[in-house]
């Protein structure tokens, strides 16, 4: 007798996922890192307005929940002195030119949190920064938004008595 077929879950319709994405909520979460409204609108589109729908839904859930934790902990804004790592706009490989710096997205990576993962391993911050900021923009920018929240949350937690 063949094993019963177990559905992990019913596949959600793309339109159903699109309906639960709250652009205003995501914009509010990003605001401390992206004070300019036009840039924020651009980034919200990058993260939940473009790319495969499952990515949009997943990125929204992760960032919105991290934003919720940050709000409950009273994390309001990132420290002003943190320059962060820029997220490049990737050119098609045949257009890359040595020495020509790419344009960057208006959201920088606060990589502080990555140091907690080092455990004595040199270079982990650089290696993971490269992993987080590579790939298609919707992917890289969702990574950066989430990591910024996690870094801020960690700082807040560690500052508690």
């Amino acid at each position: 007798m063949p094993p019963p077929h177990h559905h992990h879950h019913d596949r959600a319709a793309a339109s159903a996922i699109a309906l639960v994405l709250d652009a205003d909520r995501l914009a509010r979460v990003l605001e401390p890192w992206v004070p300019d409204a036009g840039e924020r609108t651009f980034l919200v589109r990058c993260i939940i307005g473009e790319g495969p729908i499952h990515h949009r839904g997943a990125s929204y859930a992760l960032i919105a929940l991290a934003g919720e934790i940050a709000a409950r902990l009273g994390v309001s804004s990132p420290p002003a002195d943190r320059a962060g790592v820029s997220v490049p706009m990737r050119l098609p490989p045949h257009l890359e030119r040595p020495g020509v710096e790419p344009q960057v997205y208006p959201l920088r990576l606060d990589a502080d949190g990555l140091d907690r993962l080092a455990g004595g391993k040199d270079g982990i911050r650089q290696v993971l920064t490269d992993a987080l900021t590579d790939g298609p923009p919707h992917h890289a920018l969702a990574n950066v938004a989430l990591l910024n929240l996690l870094s801020a949350i960690l700082r807040r937690v560690e500052a508690r008595p």
Partner: protein, 216 residues
């Protein structure tokens, strides 16, 4: 059919004009001149001769016969979408609209995708823009990308069904690699009216492909 005769070579002349002025811009010039010389019967004849081949000219001539006349090109509603934008890539060509935009936003750097289905002398097209517009090819567009860059595409047709008609340059340029390298993707609908004939030269695209859509 009307009894008015129009000059031989009209279609050839219109084709050249549409390539370098835009379908709507050329249609305005031709309809204006024909109406002045031959009246509404001349415009109707123009439509009969060219309409099936040039759908924008057909629609524009149809509107003319209903009493519509070309007016001043308003740009305020487009400028609202250009807040914080320093560089603009224009896709498709409507020279009157492009001229109006060039005048309205002196600080804006503008590039024009020098590629279209109709043949055009792009040096001549660019020379008409008073040194304010640079020609780019499909690869060159990425050099204009950035967080303070936008794309503006001239589109046509009624958007009631959630779609409009865009020039093929938009299809070549519009993809996941490009969309996220520009802050805004603006559609400027220069002829927001239904087509009465098959809109050859253009392709139906979703209004939602654009971050903003404005009627002329």
């Amino acid at each position: 059919m009307t009894s008015v005769t129009l000059p031989l070579g009209l279609a050839q002349a219109f084709r050249t004009a549409a390539g370098e002025l835009g379908h709507a811009g050329a249609a305005e010039v031709f309809v204006n001149e024909i109406a002045a010389d031959r009246g509404d019967d001349g415009v109707a004849a123009f439509r009969d001769i060219l309409g099936r081949d040039f759908p924008v000219a057909d629609a524009l001539a149809g509107r003319w016969l209903e009493g519509w006349r070309p007016g001043i090109i308003e740009t305020d509603h487009i400028r609202r979408h250009l807040d914080g934008i320093r560089r603009l890539v224009v896709v498709g060509l409507e020279s009157r609209h492009l001229d109006a935009l060039v005048d309205a936003v002196p600080s804006l750097e503008i590039a024009l995708l020098a590629w279209s289905a109709l043949p055009a002398d792009w040096d001549r097209v660019i020379a008409n823009c008073g040194g304010r517009v640079t020609a780019v090819d499909l690869d060159g567009i990425f050099g204009w990308a950035g967080p303070n860059s936008a794309v503006l595409c001239f589109v046509y047709g009624s958007a009631d069904g959630g779609t409009v008609y865009a020039p093929p340059g938009w299809l070549r340029l519009h993809g996941p690699d490009m969309r996220l390298q520009f802050r805004a993707l603006i559609g400027w609908n220069v002829l927001p009216a239904p087509f009465a004939v098959y809109p050859r030269w253009f392709h139906e695209v979703q209004v939602s492909d654009f971050t903003a859509m404005e009627d002329a």
